[in-house]
Amino acid sequence: MSDLILNAVGRRVPLEVNGKPQTIFQGVGAYRPTGPKAAPRIPSNADYGTDKRLRSLREALEKCGLRDGMTIGIHHHFRDGDLTVVPLFDTIAEMGFKDITFAPSALFPTHEPLIRHLESGVIHHIEGSMNGPIGRFCTHGRMKGTGILRSHGGRWQAAQDGELKIDIGLIPAPSADSMGNANGVNGPSACGPLGFALTDATFADRVIVLTDHLVPFPNVPWEIPGMLVDYVVEVEKIGIPEKIVSGTTRITKSPTRLLIAEYIAQFIEEAGYLGRSFQAGAGGISLAFVQYMAQRMRAAGVKAPFARGGSTKYLVDLLNEGLIGYILDGQSFDLDGVKSLRDNPKHISTSPFTSYNYHSKGNIAQHVGTAVLGATEVDLQFRANVVSHSDGYLLHGIGGWQNTLDADLTILAFPLFRGRIPIIVEEVTTVCAPGEMIDVVITERGIAVNPLRQDLLDRLKGSSLPIVTIEELRRKALQLCGAPDAPVRDMETPVAIVKWVDGTVLDTVFKVPERE
């Protein structure tokens, strides 16, 4: 492992990871690589007929020329209901290959069995997200290579500038035809958009579509065009529908979280952002603040030009009511979201390509008025962490979190402490966002505005909201919870790095020694 040097957020990061040189973070918007974009190999029509079906995944992997050390990409639209990732690596293990770089757009608890392939060396390292038991495995330094954590937009960026070369892209698709035209809105495993798969479809040298719902050509709409697909494999089942779109996305009942959601809606109105576009996720607080904000929009007689999903029934209802003009959707969290995406022309599927692309001439995230997000930690400089727990263990992927920070008004909302652990800390364990990206922190016991946003402080003067300093929030948290011990980390042994949206290294995740 190479030496660690200090970057522009004051964090020690490696100059080389998994044998590849790295660019360190230089400040928001400071890094602008030049030259042509990366591209996949040139295919020729003569090699493809009208029927690309093969009998098995193994046969497809063989025909794709799988070798030791290759990189395999996959999307995560099936979330915890995925039935494709674990069999994929079981097959690769059977075939006897090793040292694979696995680059999924996200992983979920259902992927825990991958640990055996990490232990045996079939998987060299993961570039994407690591949580739960896989997060612990990586944090203990047991992964062969070093993990790389990227945002959804970062995965697209890395494929475009050549940092991430995907050799084989696997695209599990709820509906496909024999040419490989695929979508996510039809079939028993319907999941909504397939936008995350576009990275693999566009940039992988070889692309395999895996489906449990083969339909005659043409399969429309073709969110994934068959012209980008090498092979099609039909299998019995690619996902568990109840776990793909749980249908249990419900507004929180927790009075504390509802109070936070009310504060968010009031803050948005008083800051002058009511009637602007917004980003709403599926978290309990996110769903709730949208309801409170909608009440205020009705009372004020204003509409939002668009909202960014993950879509849910709640967002769809607002679209149908006319309170929002469009839903620009990255993923659907329930069946109402899937259905609306399929049937309502004002409900549009967007991909990381249009939403979050760093190497593009503008993107949708920049157009968003308000984004409300969570965090595992925020520090006194407003730097925020979403990937690791305060004890140093990897906990979540970055998802679209870093990308949506581009909104005009970025709000991080969470209870002041969770199960005794304070969220406001002296210094975040892992920096996932520089402080200048975070405008406001909203908790049930106080709201802190980033001093860089004096305009917000001016507008909120005289507000009935409990506006305090971030130091005051920290003091309150410590008073309630007591001071936690510092995490025990081996600060010379990186186990993963966190990338900023431009591909530079923002921070390092260090090894936590295993306790006996």
């Binding site: 009075p255 504390t256 109070l259 969770r418 199960g419």
Partner: protein, 398 residues
């Protein structure tokens, strides 16, 4: 015999205690916050055992993010169950230094019930700004957990910041409730005691006398108010006597659930079965010069129903409503807010009263209308309530 105490639930801790042979105490800890607070919690438990001067006690703890005052309460309750005659108190640090006497006639529009054996709700209760919080030792606590709840509530009174809320405790029905009192009074952190199923004026007077003597003995000048809850036919029939039993009674309130059972009726949404009783309670309380306060509205999801029920209560003469969920507080407060028209009329009445007084006239008139003294008194009350809500003469034109 090994004993268990506490709960395997969020922000709580479950302890198993066992007396083995004499010798060092042993603590085994499993915690959801092991890496960040494990060392601290272990020390807290070990020091607690040391302070308790016990030996040879093994504690097996399963923690889910309990705060210190909860952990100490559970340890003390566990030791009391394990060791007959154990009396040592394991007190947390006091979160407040001095609290002024709560006035007898303060606002009591809303009072939020908090189950006495459940710490997580206590910590956030003040955020919802009810006029009062009720730490409940009675119906929300299982009979087998009464001892643990009493200690938990005692520690909450010391360690939890309830902000400007009136701190109320509902003790158990008399005479058991008397045994709840010393732990509570010693904290100096309780403002008002709720007496459930009150039936007789004498027992209310006895509680007042007990508290007065107890507080005098340890040198506290604090007056602790009493709020009898009338929950059966006898209580209702004696409402005046109970309200007038002693100067400590600050309000009378009603318990619908037990009352309907007592008279052999079914509780309905419309509440016809308790209508007469509530009216009698209002009269009893008013005759004794204390405010009547209404029961809870138990359907948490029915917000419109709650608002209607508060409006009805106001119309009957009640001055407050109980809450079983924090979401109900704001709705209740909004329902108690005077109408703008009513407030502006009250402003005019007050002006007219001042002018009449300045002229040395006894007769008050607004325009061509004479204002009778009771009407004037009602106007002053409306004015006070409106000002409390920040209402201004001429309305808010911002």
């Amino acid at each position: 015999m090994p004993v268990a105490v506490g709960r395997d639930a969020k922000e709580d801790i479950l302890l198993h205690l066992e007396q083995v042979d004499a010798g060092a105490n042993t603590v085994y800890l499993e915690s959801s916050v092991q890496n960040l607070y494990g060392r601290h919690i272990r020390e807290l438990l070990e020091d607690g055992l040391g302070d308790a001067k016990v030996e040879g006690v093994t504690v097996r703890a399963k923690d889910t993010g309990a705060l210190d005052w909860v952990i100490l309460a559970r340890l003390e309750a566990g030791l009391r169950r394990l060791l007959p005659g154990f009396k040592t108190r394991l007190l947390p640090e006091r979160a407040w230094e001095y609290r002024p006497q709560v006035p007898k006639d303060r606002w009591r529009r809303s009072r939020l019930y908090l189950p006495g054996n459940q710490p997580d709700l206590m910590v956030c209760a003040a955020l919802f700004q009810p006029d009062g919080v009720i730490l409940d030792l009675e119906d929300s606590v299982a009979p087998s957990e009464k001892d643990a709840a009493r200690i938990l509530v005692r520690n909450a009174l010391l360690a939890v910041d309830f902000g400007p809320c009136e701190r109320m405790v509902r003790v158990n029905q008399l005479p058991d409730g008397l045994y709840d009192l010393p732990d509570l009074l010693d904290t100096d952190g309780v403002d008002t005691i709720l007496l459930p199923k009150a039936q007789r004026a004498e027992e209310v007077g006895q509680v007042a006398q007990f508290i007065k003597e107890y507080n005098t003995r340890w040198g506290s000048a604090r007056r602790v108010w009493l709020m009898p809850i009338l929950e059966d036919a006898m209580g209702i029939l004696k409402s005046y006597e109970i309200a007038a039993s002693c100067d400590e009674v600050c309000a009378l309130t009603f318990g619908a659930e037990d009352f309907t059972r007592d008279i052999g009726a079914q509780r309905t949404k419309e509440g016809r079965e308790s209508f007469t009783a509530r009216c009698m309670l209002v009269m009893g309380a008013r005759a004794a010069g204390v405010p009547p306060i209404d029961t809870v509205y138990s359907d948490v999801d029915d917000e419109a129903g709650l608002v209607a029920s508060v409006k009805e209560a106001i119309a009957l003469g009640f001055e407050g409503k109980g809450c079983i969920h924090p979401r109900q507080v704001r709705l209740i407060h909004d329902a108690f807010r005077p109408e703008e028209k009513e407030f502006q009329w009250a402003v005019k009445v007050k002006r007219a009263m001042e002018e009449a007084h300045a002229r040395g006239q006894g007769v008050v008139a607004v325009g061509s209308k004479m204002i009778d003294p009771p009407v004037a008194a009602r106007a002053l009350k409306t004015l006070k309530m409106g000002e409390f809500y920040g209402m201004k003469e001429g309305g808010n034109h911002e």
